[in-house]
Amino acid sequence: MNQPRRIRIANGQGFWGDSVDAPVRLIEEGPLDYLTLDYLAEVTMSILQKQKRRDPARGYATDFVQLIDRVLPALRAKGVKVVANAGGVNPSACRQALIEVAKEHRARGLKIGTVTGDDILGRMEQLIDSGVRFENMDDGRPISEVLDRIVSANVYIDSFAIAEALVQGADIVISGRTTDPGLVLSPLIAEYGWKQDAWSLLAAGTVGGHVVECGAQCTGGNFSRWWEVAGWDNLGYPVLEFEENGEFVVTKHEGTGGLVSVDTVSEQLLYEMGNPKAYLTPDCVVDFTSIRLAGDGKDRVRVSGIRGSEATGTFKVSIAYLEGYKATGQLTVSGPDAVAKAKVCADALWGRLRRAGFTYDKTITELVGLDSCHGPIPGPPPKVHEVVLRVGVKDGDRAKVDRFGKELAPLVTSGPPGITGFAGGRPKATEVLGYWPTLIPKDRIVTRVEVEEVP
């Protein structure tokens, strides 16, 4: 018998803006077969659509191209493949930029795959005409309410298209909107040949992806017993050691900081969890109540027992639309009587705006340092020597939101004493994007896989 073929998959980017060094260290500091990188959040898609409207060569995660420039020699030397949803709303432009970088590295023969078909912004009217309803799946509202304000529309595509690019020999695969766990599941499908109806195996790959999708959140980051975590400056990012039967070990490279334990992995399993018996993905339905965790040595947790069932007939679609404008700003209020003075400032600000004729759809007043996060939850009265007054507004009228931004600075000289910290200019109105979660029948979506070789 051969040894079970183990595939090592790491995630080096939990979101666009995560550590720029983590992926480099994952490649350099230990054994690895696949590196996954997750760049896309819902808000990111809309930002990228806006960039693409201004410049057709943009609309993808530029950080990714810089990263590959930094690590390409090491990737090639160690034979590590990369799966990233860095394509955003323009995977082909991302591939073009990567090819330029690869040429500079003389990486002749490097194969770059792209997976497209998730971006349906340009097809919305056609799809609606053909009978897709795009009803809001949370509240049932019809799409007509927001149709003229849509800024992005992306389908969470399944993992088999990315797997196909890997089967075709791609060293780096760039996709648009996939599910985060799908980045891990797709190389497993490619390596082990898992079939489309192997529900429990697909579920196991999905759970592995879920554990690592937020990077260090399973290796000590965000852990409740934070004082037990050592080596924060050298925190290891997660590595999964998969076996063909769907069992896997969560770990991190030897010598890195952080902590992998049943407790850190349990916490991450519950992150952003809805109904644990029916975790829906485009590939399968996962039952999180089937998962078994067991310690497997220092910084190693074995995950087994995972059951999945048949996927639904629909893909989830994430649509973003322009909902209005907002601005927030802050002032620092020093003591004595910091809280009382901050409240006077807040009343003055809202009162002055009212007198000038400005009211808003939504406002907020927070005292950061007192109750901005946990609100009125009872506890011992804190000793507060200074607080940050944080105020904000949201409204459909951009000019009104900008007017709010002009009312903050005057408080430094026309409020109680000891107010400071007004820096960075007047708060400016920024766009508020609303989300419209909805579904589309799977047969309406055609994904396309292309693999191109660097000349």
């Binding site: 819902e42 808000v43 949370d138 959140q217 965000n222 852990f223 409740s224 017993r225 934070w226 004082w227 037990e228 407790d263 349990s266 916490e267 991450q268 399993l269 519950l270 992150y271 952003e272 969890m273 809805g274 109904n275 644990p276 018996k277 999180f288 109540t289 089937s290 998962i291 078994r292 965790l293 027992g305 973003a320 909902e323 209005g324 907002k326 927030t328 939504k362 406002t363 907020i364 927070e366 950061v368 901005s372 996060c373 946990h374 609100g375 009125p376 939850i377 506890g379 944080r390 904000g392 507004v393 949201k394 766009e431 508020v432 994007l433 609303g434 989300y435 979660p437």
Partner: protein
């Protein structure tokens, strides 16, 4: 009956879920899980988050992880980028949950802080 802070019995993690948040609460042992199953009801959670959660609270059980998962609807002040709150994603709701006080049987001793480290040693909340 006596009361203990939830952080003596369990640990937690939270994140956003549409215009609400989820909080996963994981008990330190079977005995603590049995207590939480009985005492940590959606109603108690809703009451604890009064002023933060404006929608329903739903609870799901994961006995395999000794865990309860709570969905707190309308707890973010709007979904996506619409929220004006500092914690627009419910990142702090897990820690907020752990501040809740739970009624426990008189004979119950929480898992030892020495072995489980349920409180930060020397921290604000008085860990030994």
């Amino acid at each position: 009956m006596k009361t203990l802070p939830l952080y003596a019995l369990a640990h937690a993690r939270s994140g956003d879920k549409g215009d609400g948040s989820n909080v996963g609460v994981i008990a330190y042992d079977l005995e603590s899980f049995a207590i939480l199953r009985e005492m940590l009801t959606p109603e108690k959670v809703k009451e604890h988050f009064d002023g933060i959660v404006f929608g329903d609270v739903r609870r799901f059980e994961l006995p395999n992880l000794l865990a309860l998962n709570f969905l707190l609807a309308e707890s973010l002040g709007g979904s996506g980028s619409a929220s004006l709150k500092t914690d627009a994603q419910g990142k702090t709701h897990g820690m907020a949950m752990l501040r809740m006080r739970i009624e426990v049987p008189d004979g119950y001793e929480p898992p030892s802080p020495g072995t489980r480290g349920a409180l930060a040693p020397g921290g604000e909340l008085g860990g030994a």
